[in-house]
Amino acid sequence: MANITLTGVTKFYEAVQVIPPMDLHIEDGEFVVLVGPSGCGKSTTLRMIAGLEAATGGQMHIGEREVTHLRPGLRNCAMVFQSYALYPHMSVRENIGYGMKVRGVPKTEARTSIENAARILNLTEYLDRKPAALSGGQRQRVAIGRAIVRDPDVFLFDEPLSNLDAKLRVEMRVEIKQLHRRLKTTMVYVTHDQVEAMTMADRVVVLRKGVIEQAADPITLYERPANAFVAEFIGAPSMNMLDGRIERSDTGLRFAGATGLAFEIPPEHTVALSRSVGEDCILGIRPEHTVEAEGGIGVNVEVVDIEPLGPYTLLIGLMGDRKFTGQTRADTKTRPGDRVPIQFDPQKLHFFRAGDGAAIREDTA
């Protein structure tokens, strides 16, 4: 059990900087998910915590110990890899128990630990099989079992579910969360899948090009994204982004969109936006906060595709040359080629500065 502190940690490959100085504090027992598009440095960060990559600069602490230059084996982390990384010539029992054998744990004690881990992970009947005779999900459970018996300070997961099929992924997601509740050990989990990040994390750290864009709990990320990148990355389908400008009007402020969209800005946004009068900005609206209806704040789109998802249907439309995704009722009669009005929920509008993408809200003043 331990917290993790990264202080100004950097990583260079030759002369290329992949992680600019990064500060991150992970609380004892917290489940933190590092998420971001590929190449954002999330795996590198995790591997630096594990000690598999050396940090070029900065300091790293696990609990009270400084571990910056400690070799991986001495950091008391357990790591689960995307590719499972099982020992193919050993049975499940040997795979789980190998670390204990190396550490010289007495045999009876090791057996108890292995059987305990196997019971937690439903692997008891497979203990004498080789990894080749297991399914993907079982293999990943063996890898997790290997991590559990380590009784580590920190669990590190490097995209552990990416190789599993969709159904299994959902099941394993629940199992890992249950494991966290049971063990209450600090867990750091890397994924590129924002659904995985949202559903599992106590706190999600969104990374882009090695920079932490926002670190917050899932609901905050969704409702109060720090910038346009986080807003677009979190949520599926992605938030719609419409270019425009804030102007002063007779009664308050109005948004003048580049694509002919223009409306009076609802009063709850005017305080924050009054500082940006005359500036270019981006309007963000999530598809789930739109309806197919006339009137109010909204746009007209030309529907190019419809995606019936059961509870509701997505309208993939075009506004000029920009894609716009709206949501409508499952029984919609709209077909590709139609031109339909989309109405926005005025409570759910997001505004971002056009220059740096930072959110314009009262709390970001």
Partner: protein, 342 residues
């Protein structure tokens, strides 16, 4: 398009060609086998092909072979077997270690420190020989050890010039097999004789021949094992590293078992080389540790061309390799890695 899909006359043509090739490869073996069963008049009196039809087979050559009147057959057989198996074993083990290091760890050897090694070793040898009057073996051992220590130290300094990486080192390993073995055999014989003068006998000893074979097999072992090891998934070793498994255990308990097919293939190839090797054995041994190929070659000169005796001895030399290849070939199958990743 596979040969298996051929139908009609084409299939028969393919079959016929395969038969021709089969006969082509098997005939020498057959010829040696029947020649070993012939009497001297049958051998010299023109070609005969079928036992009991063309000629009356006899076991005379075999009886002579095993009775020992044609040289110390048993002794040579066991020398061959012991030297070949042990040198292949050590070459495969050491070569696998070297290959693992070359695949997993980056090495940086500065060209200048390599040049320094060469200059110091040669200069030290000459200086020891002519200024200090040391015997050649003493001079070379001292100068090589000194040069090695100094150049390893020099490599840590900020030397200018080209830096050689792992690929260069592998090429350097393999390049040792590019020049004719006779060059090495001469040099090795001289070196062994000189070391012998210091009271440490290497010529015609187990140690001398095995050392030479290990050294000469290493390049090919490193070359082969490097490919096998670089095909192993790195994450498996990383998982062990995170679990605080020391490197030597990772190598022996995880890496070696994972590349077992490669190890066995390499061992068999090395064994074929050491079992069949003639030149080094001819130079470095004479009676006690003489190997089978030298004995077989000797049959040719002792009492003229006695092909029946040569054939019997040659068959004895061939059979163990066929047995080894047959037994170990089963273990060479791939698929051992399945289940490790993905």
């Amino acid at each position: 398009m596979s040969v298996r899909n051929l139908r009609g006359p084409r299939a028969w043509i393919a079959f016929a060609l395969c038969c021709v090739w089969f006969a082509f490869t098997v005939f020498p073996l057959y010829w040696v086998a029947i020649t070993s069963l012939k009497t001297p008049p049958d051998v010299v009196g023109g070609p005969t092909y079928l036992p009991f039809v063309d000629f009356q087979p006899t076991l005379k050559a075999w009886r002579e072979l095993f009775s020992g009147i044609r040289g110390e057959f048993y002794s040579n057989f066991w020398s061959s077997a012991i030297v070949a198996v042990s040198s292949s074993f050590f070459a495969t083990l050491l070569g696998a270690m070297a290959a693992y290091a070359l695949v997993r760890f980056p090495f940086r050897v500065k060209l200048l420190s390599g040049v320094l090694f060469f200059v110091l070793a040669m200069g030290g040898f000459l200086a020891g020989r002519y200024w200090l009057g040391l015997p050649p073996a003493t001079a070379s051992i001292l100068s090589f050890c000194g040069a090695l220590a100094l150049s390893v130290f020099a490599n840590r300094l900020a030397l200018p010039g080209k830096v050689m990486m792992n690929d260069d080192i592998v090429f350097w390993f393999v390049s040792q097999r590019l020049f004719p073995p006779i060059v090495v055999a001469f040099a090795l014989f001289l070196l062994y004789t000189e070391i012998g003068k210091l009271g440490f006998k290497l010529t015609d000893t187990y140690l001398g021949l095995t050392l030479a074979y290990v050294a000469f097999s290493l390049p090919i072992v490193v070359w082969l094992m490097r490919d096998f090891i670089s095909a192993l998934p790195l994450e498996v070793e990383e998982a062990a590293l995170v679990d605080n498994v020391p490197y030597w255990r990772i190598f022996f308990e995880i890496v070696l078992p994972m590349c077992r097919p490669g190890l066995i293939a390499t061992f068999v190839i090395t064994l074929a080389f050491t079992w069949n090797e003639f030149l080094f054995a001819l130079f470095l041994t004479n009676s006690e540790w003489q190997t089978l190929p030298v004995l077989i070659a000797g049959q040719n000169s002792q009492r003229g061309d006695e092909w029946w005796a040569i054939s019997a001895a040659a068959l004895v030399a061939i059979v163990p390799m066929i047995v080894v290849a047959g037994l170990l070939g089963r273990l060479m199958r791939s698929g051992l890695l399945s289940g490790a990743v993905k």
